[in-house]
Amino acid sequence: MSMKVTTRIVDHVAILDLSGRITLGEGSVQLRDAIRDLVAQGQKNILLNLSEVNYIDSSGIGELVSAFTSVKNQGGQLKLLNLTKKVHDLLQITKLYTVFDVRDDEAHAVESFQK
């Protein structure tokens, strides 16, 4: 199953609802393109909703890290929302859980971004 990306804007935050697998190839490229387009539009607050992402491989993790760095370098913030257990465990193993700002409530997550 490939990945689907839906983008919606809530207040001043772009929320990307991702579903499926973020793996080497199509999934990673879709995520990279979506982030690149948002950054190009000047969107600096990005929230990745991963509640429907059931699988990420090392390439997908690398893509999340690259997205985080790329948004941060543009003066923005990228946060994660609603991790599944598998993704949570992967971020723990790779010590990235504390690098990312991980949220489990969308409204609070949106409020947490700087206006």
């Binding site: 080497l24 491989d57 690398g62 893509e63 890290v65 598998k86 790779t94």
Partner: protein, 146 residues
Amino acid sequence: MPDSTVNKVSMTLDSTLDSVDRGEAVAEQQAAIAGIGEDERYHVSMAVREALVNAVMHGNAYDPAKKVKLSFENDGAALVIRISDEGEGIDQDKLPDPLEPANILRGSGRGIFLIRSFMDEVQFRKLGPGTELTLIKRLPSPPRRA
């Protein structure tokens, strides 16, 4: 088609991403046949996926003339998985530690680390040419009969 016997399944794959998906699916299937629980099956199939990505992308560099070999052997005590490529080979001692602060924000370099995290034992062997990875997952002991 996989060439299967009672305890061993082996296959030769093209150096493509489709092969990675196919090998991952077979790993999931073989782990289930070996009696490995759902969480551990996910670990096994992801370790195989990561090893296949390395073989296809870094080892064989998507070269259509080069193949990847994948085999599963179950002796009742462990599921032994071998993945080999025909590439230049890697020096495992020179792989950067992805947990080091200097590497934590790198966009790549976590594949071998995840393989080691998910399997009970990982061995590297240099071939001429290529690299063979052996991934071992010990199997749960069958319940003793009274």
